[in-house]
Symmetry: C2
């Protein structure tokens, strides 16, 4: 299954022309999940030619503005551009009143159904699940209640080898059984083992989005061996005290979590605007965890091309 | 007195990468007034190297998102970047709850005083006044309550001619009287008429900001002979019915108001995203009112260089 993450913004706190506030789009086999929605996210989506009407689920980590001030604009534009299908928002309860108040002040009744799913402050739960993916919250430690998100693709059934169907004249209603491991009895009476009929599908992908948070070892077990961990790295190592005071992490701390959880790749972001050259942060993180990537607006990570 | 208007955004409804939602900055002799604040306004201000901490007064016409969704982000950035001086917001009452709710959700107590001044829905009043300028609301007809803003510079006192003070040895405490029209008795006893001591100052400037609104002749008397009228022109003439239904105006209607009020210049904006080539709108408006300008992001209008 194709699994791709596009970075729409990576800056902390204050937006600049070049570095936008947090937002990411996860495309899991043409299901589009938006994660956080800083100011200007709808413009970034247009810039990268990502049709925002295809997004049906939006996850907001917490109610600091750099993670959601673009949401009401996106909701409004979806409405103005004629959306009529459902939109689901997963966020802390307070966001619902903020959205409702703004729609009410504009005398706007959305022409599509908006479903609000409050995230628990104390429990980690499955927020969304279908036959292909499950998405849960993970509790982070920040200055206000804050949630990470865990995206776990489900293991796909085996794939039938291309010319097998024709060779053995297998009817359509048997495909599913074979994908699930059944053997096949050929017209000759010969039993064809499943291993000769099918191949393994692409492996299930996994992604953890963790921002904003202090260094928190409670995360480690929950993201063990994930394909990709996005972990905030607001500051360089030298500002560890400042990071801790403000509820954030350093490059070194992000890389340490990556190392201890044995994830395959680390993506760092949420950079303080004090850093003009982000390579310094990348180098610092790579010192502890080699497979580190830098979140920059416009970056697309294809999970099938990441380090395994 | 220098009087300059910078256009930060001119689009209606939905922002695009090139055309931003409504926001303007009026610099009246180094007093900075922000008028409307669509999403992304803080980034535009940075882009045009306009220091947003110098803005002390913000006027919001109405609570459709394309006129204010950038405000909470601007307020937050002012806070995060260490502002401590007062900020005044003039808007309809509902905006206060929206701001309060968002600050409360972020557990943010601003480190500067924020004063909210509700605009009356039924009365036109002076909202702000000092020795140089007076700013009032004007009631517009839109789909929700909506206010225009009128900026009237006060007539300056006469200016004392450069070498007069030295020539007649005039003491400091007499300057003001002379600026207000007093004559001067020279040491020789000769009476020097004020006309020989002073010259006329630059004329007082006037600006009317009128968006969103249907064609409304009630405006005409209130903006008579103004230097500049900003009037929305969401649609071309052929869509007059659509304009009226949606509470907007056409190029022709904006130009007709300009003509009937004998303003010296018209600035049209708030363009529907359906128009890719804005020159078509300019040509249409100029057909009725010659001194028409097109509001485009980054445009700076110096009132001393406008048509008189």
């Amino acid at each position: 299954m194709s699994f791709k993450l596009t970075i729409l913004g990576c800056n902390s706190a204050v937006p600049t022309k070049e570095r936008h506030p947090t937002a990411q789009l996860l495309n899991a086999n043409e299901r589009f999940f938006l994660i956080d929605c800083g100011e200007g996210t709808q413009v970034r989506l247009k810039e990268y030619q990502l049709n925002f009407q295809r997004i049906n689920h939006i996850f907001i980590s917490h109610l600091h503005g750099d993670h959601y001030f673009g949401l009401i604009g996106l909701i409004s534009s979806m409405h103005l551009l004629g959306r009529n299908k459902d939109l689901h928002i997963y966020a802390h309860q307070e966001l619902k009143s903020i959205i409702d108040l703004q729609l009410s002040a504009a005398n706007t009744e959305l022409n599509y159904p908006l479903f609000f799913h409050p995230i628990s402050e104390t429990n980690e739960q499955v927020l969304y699940e279908d036959e292909k993916i499950s998405i849960s919250n993970v509790i982070l430690s920040h200055t206000i209640k804050c949630s990470g998100f865990i995206f776990k693709e489900k293991k796909s059934k085996r794939k039938i080898i291309n010319d097998i169907i024709e060779r053995y004249n297998i009817p359509f209603d048997k495909y599913n059984g074979i994908k699930e491991g059944a053997d096949w009895i050929a017209d000759s009476g010969e039993i064809i083992k499943n291993i000769e009929l099918t191949v393994e599908s692409t492996p299930a992908h996994s992604y953890a989005f963790c921002t904003d948070t202090i260094y928190n070892e409670a995360l480690i077990e929950k993201i063990k061996e994930f394909d990709l961990l996005y972990h905030e790295a607001t500051f360089k190592k030298e500002l560890a005290d400042r990071a801790n005071e403000t509820g954030h992490s350093t490059t070194f701390e992000a890389a340490t979590i990556a190392k201890k959880s044995a994830v395959k790749n680390l993506l760092i972001g949420h950079f303080s605007q004090r850093y003009k050259n982000l390579d310094e942060l990348l180098i610092e993180a790579k010192g502890t965890f080699k497979n580190t990537h830098l979140a920059e607006s416009g970056l697309v990570l294809d999970f099938d091309k990441l380090n395994k």
